[in-house]
Subunit: 251 residues, 8 copies
């Protein structure tokens, strides 16, 4: 409901081509569809550039089936994150057209609605260690379904600093770089020091002792001495992908 | 020292136009200048797009004078952040060409080296309350000195939700939005839900009790239910500006 | 044992119609019934308006059976919270008149003792996301058994701010509003900014990374910039319902 | 801008008695007045029952003077919280009609606009120790300026349990009870166990060692075994008063 | 090896009745017996009044069997704490003379070596709720095996303050009182305010949300406004019993 | 008001020697004297064995003068803890009979009311380092004014383990040992391992980095591997002394 | 690629014996081998003295098989840490030459490549309790495979201080001492006070209540009053062994 | 009191050249000298290789004077750490032979007792930023006074990774490297990845927001992905120097 639309609606009221009650109704109605106790927000994509994506973690398989069935009928990709293998199997019994990505923990469908290239360039995803791969996969798949080009550099943590230095060119050519790291979370600082692209840090919960849960990596990234770096929640590959898409989006 | 330069250097060695020791020396020398125990990194701007900026918080006024004097001679803007009024007065006795911005706590000089418009569009800075203004000023000034266009929306916190909703157009036209908020830090979630631009959240230490120090605002932003949002450290207006500049930079 | 009762008892002693030992006994006896090592407090309802409710989390099914059997004989509703499905099944083998509510995790009985309408108006329960429903159900059922009218608004989080704004009328007509939210916990701030009713915030443990456990939502609500809001413990739907009942109670 | 107003406005447009641009303007204009970079929200009282109150903690005396001068012209009481004695003296040089309350740290004016009795009954404020008095005074003054009746019980902590038990009648007759306590914060649990009125707990930062900052008292109140209790931020006497006013308000 | 023993040993050396090497050996040998990689400390009882008690939590059933078999041969009671039902069953296959106490999670044997009454009076154990019973049982059994008289008051939390007030006499006659409470942990403050006996507070991990883990109860007890109270670790019924035994011990 | 007194009072009512209103009055009146907003609890000593002691930290010098003047008239020692040198000087201008102990931060008076020896033996106070002396002095003075014998062992931390081992005899002869330590707080574990007396650990806020505030020492003492040890709040020398007095008290 | 190698390479270019592209290639190539998404760093041993060791915790058994197969072909020992018994069994089905050490949770192979004695002396490993043995075993095995001599002192915690004091000679003769302790973590302080060897503290997660997770032990070690002590992460026996090897290594 | 000494003493007793009481006395006396309430440990150097060093933070200038005067008479260097400029001036009025080092915050004297070179090689001290210099100076001076050779690399943080890479040779030739860093504390990980020397990480409290206090840097170092690294407390330059000395010490 932008200004143009509003101006047109009011003109129609002035002209007598619509009724007052219709205008009143329009002004109060919003494109939300209720599925039992869920409110689906089909216009989110127009508003924010990111379609409604289902956060699967705290939903039962029954709740997921209800929501996904309704979304499958819409002209949009279907993405559900943080779905365990067990829950995915239950959901797919009712929605066999879904594909499950075990490493990323995602369910996807409606691939024909993946938009054409939406980006100004390539998003580079970097991981510090092979334990960070599940988070990287969540980010990569999300970007793919949002219509962005992705390149990956894996297992390039700072304990062997030459591994990331050998990929400086790739990093400098990126439109945006996602750096995923657990433990001390130092890799984003190094990357932000050698590229002009904006860097999104994703701390992961990989670690033990004081590193368990990912707080060590999160603090490391928030306190980086390298400017040009911002951070998302621990293990939030999806959020990093959405931020990267917002940055990379051509207007 | 990019590949082109390296290739040329090695050709010269092959040609005999330079000596082996010179090449060896070049390969080991980096454009760093030592000022007492500080290493100035004059090539940082080429590498990351952000010039060397002085973090004033833990430096004595004597240390600041030494570093700033050397930077004033370089063809670059001079920026020092987190400088108290008292320390600024001491520094300006030795470097009278510096200008002090008390709300932002910054010292600046060499305005003639502010680059021309570096951005693809406008960076919008939004604050939740008037107590967040110092952080906003640090961000605004930094963006100005890096050559970016800025617009501001102030005092638009969620307790009166109409204040931010009335500015939807400005938010939707931005290339990137910086949202600065203390207390519960909820404003970035609302903004990220109504614009397609990438949003950078800056938690501030405004608050008391459990809000003291800004952790409440930080957690609020990290756990936002709105995708398209990333976060910098508490009170880090400078870091938000650098991230915004990296995003807004035209290539 | 109020002043009237005491005055009457002492008069009887004066009159010689009761013995000194009886008075002494009355002054020391309190209406508490011991069930093994539990002390049931049947007068709690008279004292605080809220009957004895069983907190099931750390009790064995055997302990629950003992206590519930004794309560079933009293002229009061029977409510047990935080009972897992497995434990509920074991208890119901001994007390088949109990009904189990799986989403709320509650056991109930003695519905004939639900009091008539106790309230001055309607309690509105609002959730930010569908993952908050179990907590909402615990609150809704508790209010129902305490004799209060309830209305619900679900899945109205701030990422799509229009969802809650479209329900302003319902919120403004409530006597009290319970707002249940996880992640950044921002919804109570928005609600408290658009209604004059007192708002009770319930943070939920829905989230991951820094949001795990519900501390992020709790801090968000404690530090709200909107006055007219108070908070209960994480996931404490029962406590929110009791506070709402105390507020809504007609005198 | 309620529905009645909107319906009337649209009718006028239909009637031709107003211009389209005027309607458009009205729909976008909100009763917010800008004072430099502050947005005063004069309609807040209509919307939430609580007038705009100035949070003085992070504002300079100059900022306070600007805002207060504008508010003094409005038909409303003027309240500023968390104003130090020093800052208050500076502000009163420009606004001599202000009165300073040193124990509460508040500035007030426009007493002629204190509304008549707004409440259904009396708000009782209880403190555990005499160190909690500043927070109690902030709550008491706020309630007074919002038009509510207040009674106080001081220095009644649980170390001498008879002190609070001797005041049971006062507690049971209250419409709402505010209980203010530092250290272990146990008093609200005891009070909520002996009254049917809703209880608002206010933890205070009184204490040392593990009690410093008020977290011990906050946790004690959030985890109370007594239902009918909700909590506000540490030292937040103002917030407790607003919640109490919302509960006590007659409709 | 006390002074008397040492003086005698040295005299013997002087007398020539023992060899120098023997003395040297005695001075270096200590009454510790090695069981594989465990060092049993059989003289601990003489030194501290508390015999060697086995902490079962991190030991395998095989480790437990090894240690217990050796202890069964000593003239002392055998106590093992924090033994799960499953592990207990495995151990009892090899040591059938052990008795398992499921609520306390303890294995005991050698009851004939329980010492006669060691105390100056009675230790009173008080719990706030029935969920605290396992910790109370660990304390009660430990005191029993150390030779102390115990009395119990159960389910007497502050939400119904009359429950503990009705037992003032018992509390005032105790030599020492152990108060066990989860959630807000307020009961020890009330008890310490009505008895002259030393009070040992034991926080329990009973609770959820911010109360999970027992930190809320621990902080409540450490910050008690009642003097005459000290605290042991969360759920540490054994430690409370040892402290109570040390206090109650007659000399 | 014990049972004997109550029985006598009721007999008098039966006999007609007192009026009903007098009895009613007695049953409701408690020996509390109000000083402005403070409730002095003169019977506390009878109830708990510890007289009313003034916690000076959050009280103004004016508040202290009011309370102390009233207490000076009572037949009891006067003790005020946590009084700064500056505040003490102000108070002593109005109450010159007070004595100030700068290391302990205490004001004392009415020494003629120090009770005769109240203890079964000697309380030993041990410190790990000389920085712990202020806390030790608070404990020592409190015990002295409560009528207990004290002996001290200073600067005996575990970095030179022979320092405490050389004092084993003193530790073994004590009725109770207070061990005061900052940093890692290991000394109480060692002491509890070599004496049968109950040990009270007092963590101090001596330290820096992760040791600042005393949490490291507190955790060390709560998790001691030595039984027979309980803990009070950080820097709480007064609380340790009260616990020691309760233990040492002869009955 | 050290200076000698570089000088030689450049000479060859000068001489014309190698091509420019070959030099360019050499300067950019590093001895890293890619196994799917893992980068094996075979030169790490030359660079840091510690070979590539596999951190098994977050890797699937399939990932482990891939990496280990490639490493088995190299002339180096194979070490994988933090491998559960279940995962180990799966891996050994594909790599039967591996040996599993259940207490340490390690897989090892290629014992013929264990280097000859690399150390200047003996590394002593000390544990406070038998629950710390798994961490000690991880350290002991790692040191063995790195070619160092190890001696062990077990179950020597501070509750029986004579147990460690009787081993002073062994501690004083060590080149480096690793001290492993949970709970209050006091043993490293005592050890560092009686030996001149550098001490590495390893906190373990053995404990419960406030000791759960090992933070209490970690803080105890970081705040030790004994100099000559440094700390590694909780339960990090591997890290302690690597630090000890670096210290003990002869040059 | 080593074995040789003991054997000799006992022989003398056997020979009758010393009395039994003398031996008894020797066995109980330890070389500790009492200065008021301080126990000076003059034999510490023999036992641990590190002389008694005065921790000045919590000591008054009067306490410092007492202790230092006694130490000046001993044949050892005098070192006092964490002495503020103000306190140093007061102390030097009584002990003018002391020298004050303002950046390190240390007082030193008795330079003639600095031992000759005690080390196997050179200790390298590295800082990430110029704000870390005070901690580096504390470490450098301590090592100097303990008789070790030191080299320094300053301002070499990971934001400009070439700064540390250009010093690889120095790092590889060190016997031990101390790496001092605040903010994200990433530099030790990089250094430990490029040298075989043991690395001691020192987190500093340089930073703000989530970095304030140094916890971010501490966690970064504890969770380093590079083996061969151990950590000391935040800002503990003295502790790092003592650990480095213990490692570097030749035997």
């Amino acid at each position: 409901m932008n200004e143009t639309h509003l101006r047109k609606l009011l003109s129609s009221l002035q002209d007598g081509t619509v009724e007052l009650e219709q205008v009143l109704n329009q002004l109060q109605r919003l494109p939300i569809e209720a599925v039992n106790r869920h409110q689906l927000d089909h216009h989110r994509s127009l508003r924010t550039g990111i379609p409604e994506v289902i956060f699967g973690q705290n939903k039962s398989s029954q709740q997921l089936v209800e929501i996904i069935k309704r979304m499958l009928e819409q002209p949009t990709v279907v993405l559900a994150t943080r779905v365990s293998a067990e829950k995915a199997a239950q959901v797919r019994q009712h929605c066999p057209q879904l594909r499950y990505h075990p490493e990323a923990g995602m369910l996807t469908a409606n691939d024909r609605h993946i938009p054409g290239d939406q980006g100004r360039g390539t998003v580079v995803i970097t991981t510090a260690g092979s334990s960070d791969l599940p988070v990287a996969e969540e980010a990569r798949l999300t970007l793919h379904y949002l219509g962005h080009q992705v390149a990956c550099i894996h297992d390039a943590g700072v304990a062997g600093i030459h591994r990331i230095l050998s990929r400086v060119n790739t990093l400098q050519e990126a439109t945006v770089v996602i750096v995923i790291a657990g433990m001390e979370g130092a890799l984003p600082s190094v990357v932000a020091g050698i590229t002009a692209a904006p860097v999104i840090g994703v701390p992961t919960s990989v670690g033990y002792g004081t590193g368990a849960g990912g707080y060590s990596a999160l603090l490391g990234m928030l306190n980086s001495c390298s400017p040009g770096l911002a951070v998302v929640n621990i293990d939030n590959g999806f959020g990093a992908a959405c931020m990267a898409a917002a940055i990379n989006r051509s207007r």
